[in-house]
Symmetry: C2
Subunit: 262 residues, 2 copies
């Protein structure tokens, strides 16, 4: 497969960078082709602003969705954004790698999403009406491609467990896995999460690196997170609420959007 | 009260800007003092990098937490970060206002959190050991102050409802309300959320503005979200897991961290 790793850490000698290199080597050994967007090294511009839409009339009010759509269909987005979109088209698999800062991705990576995910490319795809709400959540530009997160956290696994004070890691990552990866059509693999990364020694690094290698070796066979398709019949259109009795009794919150096992 | 509004929208003529002005006017009419950090107008730097830590030796590897701590205790963070921390000390209440982009805040506001929330200021406060895990989640530098979100979304309220495809809005905002506002000690009020903001007319704006005015008039009396205190006896130390049987039967996920009503 062709794999794009979008990497967001400011320090080239960081644990994150070392894990990235483990992932790259492991993917290449397995015969995959790898490209990396190292956002800090690229000096990636994080904030969406007027400069992102060179075709927008200077006197016109900036409406981000409309400007993004016009720029996308006219081929008039900026060169850095178009280059990233090209990499996404090229890749069969997308990996986002980042340290968990304040329970989500660093600003520079959020800014990659905000800017690269143009209207017409990652959202606003397909008919939007009261009868059909677009190709998204399992359909869209990225349908058929795979994606996953590689995340590091300072806290303990227990702090992110089902009853941990931070909230369960799967729920904290839902807005990214479901809202950013599944939304434009990616098939989403379970995340790789490394905990307690501020207290590392060689033995623990070796252990984490081996676990990551194992995940990289199996990217084409790992079973994905079983999110429901928006247009698969489970949701009422246009309110997009899950139809009654589609879930196991007692299921609540984000877990409603998983297809029940068996 | 003294109120700081941190505002993140690139367009001065946007609906968000109009709502911000409604909030300011309403707060001032009620006798509150208001400061605004308009992040786009300030050209806020979003990405944490070496330049944030001028005291860091150029040959030294950047460890963000350690560099942030050293910079904070030595008074050696950058002037823009110190100015924001000063505003946070000044304010009795913090309001973060932003459009929901990809289910969370825009990159520029995430970058405000990543940079202003220094180690020793917003985290790493108090003893950290196997017996005590810091002053956070209800305690810390911001204890006694209030905070809330003002958020706009393009989708329908139903899409963000209990069974909506996006996930419930309270769960989507939990990493911000609990993980960014409650973490350093703020008492967190329920968010103000405006839906379908891409399909606006004067009548709907008037209605939303009036609802926002009502919220602004009652900032000192609105009942907060009843998050549990980390050090209030509900959690096992140091795994920080909620003790058994502290919740109503059937409660799952983020809702575990709310004190049961009555």
């Amino acid at each position: 497969m062709k794999v794009l790793i979008v990497f967001a850490h400011p320090e080239p000698e960081s644990l994150n960078a070392a894990l990235r290199d483990v992932a790259i080597a492991s993917l290449q050994e397995a015969g995959h082709e790898v490209q990396v967007s190292d956002l800090y090294a690229m000096n990636w511009k994080p904030s969406v602003d007027r400069a992102d839409f060179p075709a927008l009339d200077p006197g016109e009010r900036l409406k981000v969705g409309a400007a993004s759509h016009a720029g996308f269909v006219q081929g008039a987005l900026t060169a850095d954004v178009k280059a990233e979109q090209e990499k996404l088209r090229w890749a069969d698999m997308l990996i986002l790698q980042f340290p968990l800062w304040w329970y989500t991705m660093p600003a520079i990576l959020k800014g990659w999403v905000d800017r690269v995910y143009a209207y017409g490319f990652a959202y606003g795809v397909g008919e939007h009406s009261d009868r059909y709400w677009g190709e998204r959540f399992g359909e869209g530009t990225m349908a058929g491609k795979r994606a996953m997160l590689i995340v590091t956290a300072g806290g303990w696994a227990e702090h992110y467990s089902e009853r941990g004070v931070n909230g369960p890691i799967d729920d904290l990552l839902f807005p990214i896995n479901h809202g950013i990866l599944y939304y434009p059509g990616y098939t989403v693999l379970p995340p790789f999460v490394g905990y307690r990364i501020d207290r590392f020694n060689d033995a623990r690094f070796a252990q984490m690196a081996e676990a990551l290698r194992e995940r990289m070796r199996s990217i084409d066979t790992t079973a994905p997170i079983a999110y429901r398709q928006q247009n698969g019949g489970d949701y009422v259109i246009p309110t997009l609420e899950l139809k009654p009795d589609r879930e196991e009794a007692g299921t609540r919150g984000f877990a409603l959007h998983l297809t029940p096992a068996g």
